[in-house]
Symmetry: C2
Subunit: 217 residues, 2 copies
Amino acid sequence: MKTRDASAPKAAKPRGRPRSFDREAALAAAVEVFWRKGFEAASISDLTEAMGINPPSLYAAFGDKEQLFLEAADSYSRSRGDECPYTDEPTARGAIEKLLTYMARELSEGDHPRGCMMVMAAATSANASSRLQKVIAEKRNASREHMRARIKRGIEEGDVPADTDAGALADFYSTIVAGLSTSARDGTTRKSLMATVERAMQLFPAVVKRKRSLAAA
Amino acid sequence: MKTRDASAPKAAKPRGRPRSFDREAALAAAVEVFWRKGFEAASISDLTEAMGINPPSLYAAFGDKEQLFLEAADSYSRSRGDECPYTDEPTARGAIEKLLTYMARELSEGDHPRGCMMVMAAATSANASSRLQKVIAEKRNASREHMRARIKRGIEEGDVPADTDAGALADFYSTIVAGLSTSARDGTTRKSLMATVERAMQLFPAVVKRKRSLAAA
DNA sequence: GCATTTTTTTATCGATCGCTATACAATATG
DNA sequence: CATATTGTATAGCGATCGATAAAAAAATGC
């Protein structure tokens, strides 16, 4: 790993000819291509053209197509990932709703490919290595697991009914996310996506505020 | 079109060498391949091997890869299509529930590829012709339109509340179907898919049986 | 029989795939 | 300066892509 030890005092001084392109900018361009076309349909030509470099530079900097995709997937997860909108919402319901809303908005942005890169990739990795397929599946499962954990926390903190099946509820909203992604790819309008999100959120279980003084927390 | 005029008295007698393979069986094999791999990832080699024929026979019988896919898509829609479970259910809710349940069961069958062929194809047609992409999108929209029509019928027949937005509700369940397909491809268990279906059906609006003598119909 | 028609098999075609060998350019160290 | 080291650019590798030309094979019409 240790990518040039970018911390500390500007690192040492690399010996040979310096790289003439911005690695992160090139990676961002690769994300765009993989996002739009999926893994297999994105050719090295597509990638090098978008990244503004030649094949040898790509292979020297990123390894091969599969490793480049893995880095692109990580970058995607980090910048557009499912964890982002989770942080500051006080309730599980708020967190899930924010995630879905964020997704619906993001997926229907005009300036980048529609749909979720991982959902896209999952469908276009039929001929890819089993390792890559596994990584993709794990990334998609990570999203569901994040939701499950957040819901479970909600149960512990009392803003979600105690008898809620966190796993099943996360499954449901994970399915919604996947569906939103596919719908967005098919050109469904943002308004329609948002309406679906709102509808799906009606299923989020509410705590019954009967007599019990919600002393759970 | 007129495919040999298969009606009437056994048709005429074709002059040349008779075809040595069953066209429909070959098409069924092609469906299987496209279903599992998507459009682009399914190579001619994959197809000819599965169909048990050589490339020239494929091209003579089906045109080219794109036309073969279109025929395969039609065959898929007809045999596993979304219209099937619609027919005899008396209520819109029953029809939608049957469709979702059918989907969840079908998508997680072990003997054929998981997920929906059209959802799959939509993600793997990035380099395909715009015509093909349009056809795929239309087939996916047809599913939603079927649902919308069935819900609207339910409104007219009184088993769905009159103030229901049929289009938005169809959008929602269409999103569910797409999500189920992706989840199924990722290996989600049938049990989990079924639980999600059940949860989604809780959102189907029920008619309030107050005083009003449901004289709507 | 022989000519005609259509499908089959075999052997590719040119284009593109992911990837790299090689030569050259640009920087560091000495 | 020379030398080492690293990145870039050109060109092309073998493999596979979708699609076909050519010839042999199997049927009908005469």
